[in-house]
């Protein structure tokens, strides 16, 4: 390798991590090959994750709103759902975005190679496409193969009635009853979709609460609303066994005091989590180290134990989120270019696109307690938000986690309509090292939900105009 020749970089996996890494590496002057089994870049996020689920959730929210509109004096008939057309619209959304990525690959001068990649040695990936074999020699490779739905062995049933998230997003039909195994964000989002379309949804969660990891005060308003929409939410409950019987699925539930452990459902969605996709990649031909859960060990630059190979996104560890992968892709590309890049975000936002949405960034209250980090909290309930009331809602909460002494904002958690969009300001605040005073002194447009961030800041000083919570600070 001489200085005159551009570095040859192979990116394995064209999801939001892989294509971001590939495009950035190409922009930095490297000779980039982007390898993926799909004909177009996009990965799970665009083809069978974030994007199709959000399209369907958009439709679901519309249905729910037409039902609520009765309270505002607007009456709609029950919607007629043309599943084929709905699937078609969802697919057009996906196609539009993935075709756009295909065009962008060309514009960034990235060579897109469809096929399945396998490491032969620390400088070669063998790509198989319909029997054709191409060896890609690289100076550096970036593994961005993402994750796949994890299905526990006990729930693995060779039946189309038992779906993973990918199958559920294909919207085969609207089952009369749907069992969702797992009360995480995937289960709740897809549960919301199927519930709005007319399914009676039962969610079974093994732990004591929905969305483990999120603060309980944020989960509470969401859980309350979901309980009014879903058939049942069963906590501290396991699905011990699934069996197909007369075209339905019989589930045996296991919990401390369950009256009717045997229940029948038209379909089952298993959404207990995702597993990193690190198998059958030929990693054993390299020095790459993989932990017991399948995650690749990486350093702060996202370099693996094999000096020529980097790993980003879901394969490189939690949180398994597209935007985290995207940022890591940028870091890895810059690190390969010799720039002093490291992955050190002050906060990575997480958004659950239910109704209400639940979102947080940076330190949660639970983490602060667990790790013994001193903190202060300021909570602004959305019952005092003018904008929220105009949308016919009273539920919602904006919460700031604050470092005592410095007033630095360490974390922000929000539950409420559109909480995800508020994460923009929240994440910027955390990343910029904003102090509560700054938030409190920034003029926010009225009436907007973003005002709740300012109000939570004001409340810290006891000065919120719209909510009285405590005596003003001295």
């Amino acid at each position: 390798m001489t200085v005159d020749q551009p570095l040859r970089v192979a990116v394995l996996g064209a999801g939001p991590g892989g294509y971001a890494a590939a495009f950035h590496a190409a922009d930095l002057g490297m000779n980039v090959t982007l390898i993926d089994e799909s004909p177009l870049p996009g990965g799970v996020c665009l083809f069978r994750g974030c994007i199709p689920s959000k399209a369907l959730l958009h439709a679901a929210h519309l249905i729910e709103e037409t039902r609520e509109a009765a309270a505002w004096g607007i009456n709609f008939a029950e919607p007629e759902i043309d599943l084929t057309a709905l699937r078609g619209w969802k697919q057009r959304v996906v196609d539009r975005l993935t075709r756009g990525l295909g065009a962008l690959s060309r514009q960034h001068s990235v060579r897109y190679l469809q096929g399945r990649g396998h490491f032969e040695d620390p400088n070669t990936i063998r790509v198989r496409t319909d029997g054709e074999v191409t060896d890609i020699n690289f100076d550096y490779a970036i593994i961005a193969t993402g994750s796949v739905p994890a299905i526990p062995a006990a729930l693995r049933l060779n039946s189309p009635l038992v779906m993973d998230s990918t199958a559920a997003l294909d919207l085969p039909d609207v089952p009369g009853s749907l069992l969702i195994v797992g009360g995480g964000y995937i289960g709740l989002e897809l549960g919301s979709v199927y519930s709005a379309l007319g399914s009676r949804v039962t969610v079974v969660e093994m732990t004591g609460g929905l969305l483990p990891g999120a603060d309980r005060d944020l989960v509470e308003p969401l859980e309350k609303r979901l309980r009014s929409q879903f058939e049942a939410i069963l906590l501290n409950t396991r699905v011990a066994e699934l069996a197909e019987q007369d075209g339905r699925i019989r589930a045996r539930l296991s919990a401390a005091d369950i009256a009717d452990p045997e229940r029948d459902f038209d379909r089952v969605l298993v959404a207990v989590g995702r597993a990193p996709n690190t198998r059958n990649l030929g990693l054993e031909q390299t020095s790459i180290e993989v932990d017991s859960r399948g995650f690749i060990h990486v350093d702060h630059m996202r370099r693996t134990a094999e000096p020529t190979i980097f790993a980003i996104g879901d394969v490189a560890g939690e949180p398994m989120l597209a935007h985290k992968a995207n940022h890591e892709g940028r870091v890895a590309a810059e690190a390969i270019a010799g720039q002093p890049a490291i992955f050190d975000p002050a906060g990575i936002p997480a958004v659950v696109f239910t109704d209400p949405e639940l979102a947080w960034c940076g330190l949660t209250e639970g983490q602060a307690r667990e790790r013994g980090i001193p903190f202060e909290v300021s909570r602004f309930p959305w019952a005092a938000s003018g904008r929220n009331i105009t949308m016919g809602r009273t539920d919602g909460l904006t919460k700031l986690i604050i470092e005592p002494g410095t007033e630095r904002i360490l974390g922000i958690g929000i539950v409420g309509v559109g909480a995800g969009e508020l994460m923009g300001e929240a994440t910027l605040a955390i990343e910029m090292g904003t102090r509560v005073t700054d938030l409190h002194l920034t003029v926010h447009a009225h009436p907007t939900l973003a005002e709740t961030l300012m109000e939570a800041g004001s409340l810290y000083f006891g000065h919120s105009p719209h909510y009285i919570a405590r005596a003003p600070r001295p």
Partner: protein, 454 residues
Amino acid sequence: MPTDFRLPELGENITEADVVLVLVREGDTIAVDQPIATIETEKATVDVPSGVTGRITQIHIAAGQTVSPGAVIVTVDAAIGAEAAVSKLPAAPAAAVTATPPPLASPPAPAAEPSPPLAAPTPAPAAKPEPTEAVTVPASTPPAPAPATPAPPEGTAAAFAAPSVRTFSREIGVDIHAVQGSGPGGRIDIEDVKRHARELRATPVAGGIPPLPDFSQFGEVERQPLSRFRRTIARSTATTWSQIPLVTLFSTADSSAFEAIRRRYRDAASRAGGTLTDGVLLMKLVGAALKEFPQFNATLDLQREELILKQYVHIGLAVDTDRGLVVPVLRDVDKKTIVDLAADFRGISDRVKANALTLEEMRGASFTISSLETLGVSHFTPLVNWPEVAILGVGSNADLPSYEREELRVHKRIALSLSFDHRVIDGADGARFLRWLVNAIHEPAMLDIPEAAS
């Protein structure tokens, strides 16, 4: 009324101090002048007396922490017995304020685990099975190879700075976690990073040098945090080394005449509470030499291209202690008699031993004497104590043979080493200073010493 008590100014150029001990607890009632904490500055360990009276509602410092003058150290409710201000802290543990003070030697919170071993990638054996679901890789897999960009300490939160500032910091090779933020609440801006980088350049010990090898491959090692004393010495000696073109001249003086002087004024010195040592006599002679050669009692101001000539003679004495090098200063040496100086010297030696020197007693030297006499060293090359321009190194004072009128005799001869800043002082001037001093040691009577008897 809650009142914040802030760390007072600690003296010129002192911008921070390490908290060694917190001497009070929340809920304690304190009075003015009662010590709140023991802190270690670049120059001394001192107690911070309270400037307020009242009940302590919150302590903002903890042992091991670095604080700057002006930082709030305690909040006091001045109305004793009144309702305490509501503490907004939830149940989470506050700063480590413990009933039993931590040991003095407790290091400031270690920044990071030692670096992982350098990369030695082991080629995967061909027989290694492909990772399948059944295969579990041991949790104790070795860490990733050592990175080119320094890793932030594991588990540390992102630095209190915008991403652009963090990136800039990495680009210029500064560990942002070591930067002191000047913004509100301690936020770090780009100017703070630049200032830190400039300071680092003057401190090769802390940065700007190639990464260290992994010594564990050669044998076991132990890492010790540098004390503030050590860091200060590292910084100041490196400044001297890199900034000052230093010349050292050696000479030897017959100190036999000291004996007579010592005998004559011993009782007077002892009545004054001092001991008349060779060091005291030498100091007096150096004081006189500095009046004769004012450019040795000066500072070079390169910015204004001026020489600052001190109209006072304050001599610093480099003293070896178990904490490291300490340089107490004896003031107005030229104006004091040897008896006064003997008493002053005794007093300051006692306070050095007791680690009780005040900051005031370690500031303002215009010339320094460094003695390695008792350690058996003859000549050496002392480093000028910047911003001074010269230093005298005193070595062994031993019986040495010499010819006197063609006869071999034995005299006590003292080894003298004079280092000076060549930008200010030429070699010949250095030689003249040294010759003057040697002659004065030979004939101390030429000094105005008899006054000392009065």
